[in-house]
């Protein structure tokens, strides 16, 4: 199947306290061979899988999706520098956080 535009996947949740999603541009992601974000993530949130359209891309592990706010807190200290590692190592700029 062919489609126009990039496919954007959002993993995470919205609850009373806010929106917490990791945004993955899978059309960029599928071009990346090494997928350094998977090993770089200090919380081990990401995994590689084959999606429904047979592209090899990264996604957030199911068990982290409902607690992503806390899983990602390693990279988001309340005080001090925020270096979001997955974003930093992704040369194609395929990963973004919504919060």
């Amino acid at each position: 199947m062919q489609g126009g535009g990039n496919t954007i996947a959002y993993y995470g949740y919205k609850d009373g306290s806010g929106d917490f999603f990791i945004r993955l541009d899978t059309d960029k992601c599928k071009e990346c061979v090494n997928k350094p974000c998977v090993d770089a993530c200090p919380a081990g949130l990401l995994e590689i899988f084959v999606n429904d359209y047979d592209d090899v891309v990264v996604r957030v592990e199911e068990k982290h999706r409902r607690k992503i706010k806390y899983s990602c807190s390693v990279c988001k200290p309340v005080f001090g520098d925020r270096i979001i590692v997955c974003q930093a190592v992704c040369k194609l700029k395929a990963i973004a956080h919504t919060w």
Binding site: D15, G16, S17, G18, R66, K67, Y70, S73, V78, F79
Partner: protein
């Protein structure tokens, strides 16, 4: 003689506490319901009458809690984080981390030896990380909170709870009952799920000993056990009135303001 009052208006309960020279002489607790203004006044009058005092006798009133703005008769206001820290360090001077789990909000507060707030994290818009979660679960199990706490200590094996949301967890608990999982194991799992969420919040600010647990949920033995296991440390838990620490802290600040240290 110095009489001061602390009034803590939470989303669910409102508490008033009267101090005479920094000693507690009365407490009152009422439902906040819809009219926080009314709840504040009612709890204050109730506490005064219990203390056999009149409004004229009171030197200073501090308001705290989510509805502090509604305490129109207060002389001053303090955030719930500030009042909890003040109360905590006064009662347990070695406290460096305060975990406050109330009915509709929970927070973790990092303080120094003087009770100064260094950092904090709050959860208030989602029932999953508050006392309401355990309350909903006890309703689903059709037992009281006290029973659930006691039962959970007898639980031998926990079952994984997938739901984070209290509403989904209720359905999950019902299906666990149908699957004939022993109720003490369900109770244990509920407290573990709750504790893991609270611990995640506490870890955000970094855990420093001693760790004090306050708020209404500090009555729940099952939750305390699950928290201690999750954090791998022993918690300090006030022997009585853990839900009044914020009101107490506010009244202490009132005493500071009213008549020197």
């Amino acid at each position: 003689m110095m009489i001061t009052a602390g009034i803590d208006v939470g989303n669910k309960n409102t508490r008033a506490l009267i101090l005479k020279d920094r000693e507690v002489i009365s407490r009152s607790l009422v439902l906040s319901d819809f009219d926080h203004k009314k709840a504040a006044l009612y709890s204050y009058e109730l506490a005064l009458s219990k203390a056999h005092m009149n409004k004229e006798d009171v030197n200073f009133i501090m308001a705290t809690g989510a509805g502090q703005e509604e305490v129109t008769f207060a002389n001053g206001r303090i955030t719930e984080v500030g009042s909890a820290a003040r109360g905590a360090v006064f009662l347990f001077s070695s406290t460096r981390t305060v975990i406050d789990v109330g009915a509709e909000e929970s927070r973790a507060i990092k303080i120094d030896e003087k009770g100064k707030v260094l950092d904090f994290a709050i959860n208030e818009k989602c029932a999953a990380g508050t006392g309401s979660f355990v309350e909903s679960m006890s309703r689903a199990l059709e037992i009281t909170l006290e029973e659930m706490g006691a039962l959970s200590l007898k639980g031998e094996k926990s079952v994984p709870m997938n739901a984070q949301c209290a509403v989904f967890a209720e359905s999950e608990v019902v299906s666990l009952i149908h699957a004939r999982i022993p109720v003490e194991n369900i109770a244990k799992s509920i407290h573990e799920a709750m504790a893991s969420r609270i611990s995640s919040m506490v870890r955000r600010i970094g855990i420093q000993k001693e760790v004090l647990l306050i708020g209404g949920t500090a009555y729940n033995k099952g939750f305390i056990a699950a928290m201690e296991e999750d954090l791998e440390l022993k918690l300090i838990v006030p022997a009585d009135y853990p839900e009044f620490i914020s009101a107490f802290g506010a009244a202490l600040v009132a005493a500071d303001k009213a008549g020197g240290k």
